[in-house]
Symmetry: C2
Subunit: 405 residues, 2 copies
């Protein structure tokens, strides 16, 4: 049984964390440096952005994780350390400074940066901040770490669960940051997950790579795939379960626990999309196969026109049909049904590709809620998929009209 | 020599036009019905949206143009006649009512509708308006027709040129509407072009199909491909040139004239994108081939983040690099140069994939203009392409947050 618990990235045994303001961000009330640390060596897995422009920290992390091992994650916000001539060097020095302070190998450091692209990252505040960052590590530090990786995020994003494998209680938790430049492909945003379950590095990678195809890769805030997207998982085995080394029942349980946390983080990222007032969840059923369902769900969730209509609580379902039609998916548009749903109820707006009469008043009431489901049936097929996004608002424009100042 | 002239869709001999308010739109000061008419039979060509959801008028027009002939174009705004159970029937009745009044065959009518999707189109005001619409046909009616097809457009869009073929002066002009739901693929928006050049139907189709790949298919306002996109050309031969029936010098001249008008209309559509304050033109050079250049230009022009930055006159070139990186094009990101240009000058912001020092003050001055060029060099290849778009603004959100009311 999977139970939601508190503790975020420190919910798993042996993990401590911290977050501080070291001086990369001008606003001193904003934390800008986060650390996660495992008391013992952990297996590690990661997925990275498919953007050809990759942040230097990702390249350094990829090299560090080649052996499937890691013990610490360091991440700064305020500067992405991307498109800088000295980026690799800076990311390596950041790892080395942390490793020295922790007394571990620089190779066991996951290093990440998020923020503005193309401005040199000043190492000085980071190097000067590391001693205090390490001194402050604690099992209650998950919140501080979640804050330390935020950029335009308005809320910190964390989630954790407990579950059982072979009679042993395991824990898995994570933190995420992501608000704009969110349209992942194969990997996404910054997400750091920890678990005390024992699982081999190859199986951990398999679990993560499988999970993201249905979770982080199904989120879009603005259609822009970040250069710095990365999801990592550290598993330190302190739960004492027999190590998972194959696709057995324990692996299935682990996947389920992982998915519970990643879906919760996806919803938090989409709901806190830059400027968003609403979380949108698009549920597609009846597709001829899963890829078709995913293509349709992603296309609908990415439509600027639909996103703006949802902001205005306008049941403009024609824009749903339009987005299905240009998605590139093989769909019989004359078999499409569309409904909107929220805590205020559900309303059918389109049957067999044509409009049905509905109460605009009731639709408005449903769409004024902060979490909206867009339900699409494509026919009688068995393929289904879910995608998450948010509405398009004045504040998205405001935030991004002058982000650097 | 190709010369810009006035007259729009009536610049070519034998074409008259008109536009009236018939009552589809509530606001009586807005025209909502347009007509273009050729005094003699014309060859006709068209391209249509690739959206699987196609407006009923497109399907009817496609059937009517199967013989490569047409004499009249009728288009209403305010309602797209799309996703309605009786759409085909309504579009056919609209053609028949016009044909009867003009004394032509219903088969020779191009019928189009633009506006809200999924609400039944009321034929009554159209049928009642047709006699006045026809009575008012005149060689000065191009402006009225251009107004009659507008929806959220803030300016009417028309252009025309004169050119010579075989010693005969030919004319070609067009009107366009398009402001939101603009992200064409193979065909786009509503554009009606007329010419008095003599050209066979197959060659006219070849000219149009070739031209749009570099013009309308390179425009994006919001990434949403409309269900009702269509471009048609009518050529009535009244210029008296020897009919163009093969890819000779005359065909090349015709293509050039057509391209002059379509590029002008593209710039007008992009510059008048919903809520836009700026026209963006992305010029990509040095690509390994044209498809690569096009993919990059389209990706940059479609980036919500870059569009918002341009609204804020923020030289956030990292977003240009980011959009190049996720475009899917095969690019060496370490060879990319980026500059911004306007009437206030040009400024280099990125060389070889990394930032260069530049004056933020000068960049701001350049980016505060209403037409911005984003210049991207990908290396030493011969491929180049241009795409057009606009900034993302508060007004885009406002217009689309509650479009139906």
């Amino acid at each position: 049984m999977i139970k939601h618990i508190s503790g975020g990235v420190c919910a798993a045994q042996g993990f401590t964390a911290n977050g501080i303001h070291c001086g990369i961000r001008k606003n001193k009330t904003k934390k800008d440096l986060a650390l996660i640390y495992s008391a013992c060596p952990a297996t590690a897995a990661a997925v990275y952005t498919t953007n050809l422009v990759k942040g230097a920290p990702l390249l350094v992390t990829k090299a560090h994780l080649a052996n499937g091992q890691a013990r610490a994650v360091i991440c700064n916000s305020g500067n992405a350390n991307t498109c800088n001539a000295n980026g690799i060097e800076v990311a390596e020095q950041m790892s080395e400074a942390l490793a020295k302070e922790l007394g571990i190998n620089a190779n066991d450091v996951v290093v990440a940066s998020t923020g503005v692209i193309g401005q040199p990252l000043n190492l000085e505040p980071i190097v000067e901040g590391i001693p205090a960052l390490v001194r402050g590590l604690s099992a209650d530090g998950g919140d501080a770490a979640a804050e330390g990786i935020m950029t335009t995020d308005t809320v910190k994003k964390e989630d954790a669960v407990s579950f059982e494998i072979g009679g042993k209680t395991c824990h898995l938790g994570g933190i995420a940051k992501g608000s704009g430049m969110i349209h992942p492909n194969m990997a996404t945003m910054l997400v750091f997950i920890t678990t005390d379950a024992a699982i081999s590095a190859p199986m951990l990678q398999k679990a993560l790579s499988g999970d993201i195809t249905n979770t982080f890769n199904m989120v879009s805030v603005d259609g822009d795939t970040s250069t710095n997207d990365m999801v990592t998982v550290l598993a330190n085995g302190m739960a004492g379960n027999a190590e998972i080394t194959e696709e057995n029942e324990d692996f299935a349980t682990f996947m389920k626990a992982l998915n519970t946390v990643t879906v919760a983080l996806c919803r938090k990222i989409a709901g806190d999309g830059e400027g968003a007032t609403k979380l949108l969840e698009c549920n597609v059923t009846g597709a001829k196969d899963v890829p078709t369902a995913k293509t349709v769900a992603k296309s609908v969730i990415c439509s600027s026109l639909l996103k703006a209509a949802m902001f205005g609580a306008d049941a403009n379902w024609g824009r749903v049909l339009c987005a299905i039609g240009y998605s590139g998916a093989d769909v019989d548009v004359n078999a499409v049904d569309v409904s909107f749903r929220s805590t205020k109820g559900e309303i059918a707006v389109c049957k067999n590709g044509a409009g049905v009469e509905f109460s605009e008043e009731k639709a408005k009431e449903i769409l004024l809620e902060s979490e909206i489901e867009i339900l699409i049936s494509l026919g009688n097929g068995g393929g289904k998929a879910t995608a998450w996004g948010c509405d398009l608002t004045y504040d998205y424009v405001k935030i991004n009209g002058d982000y650097r100042t």
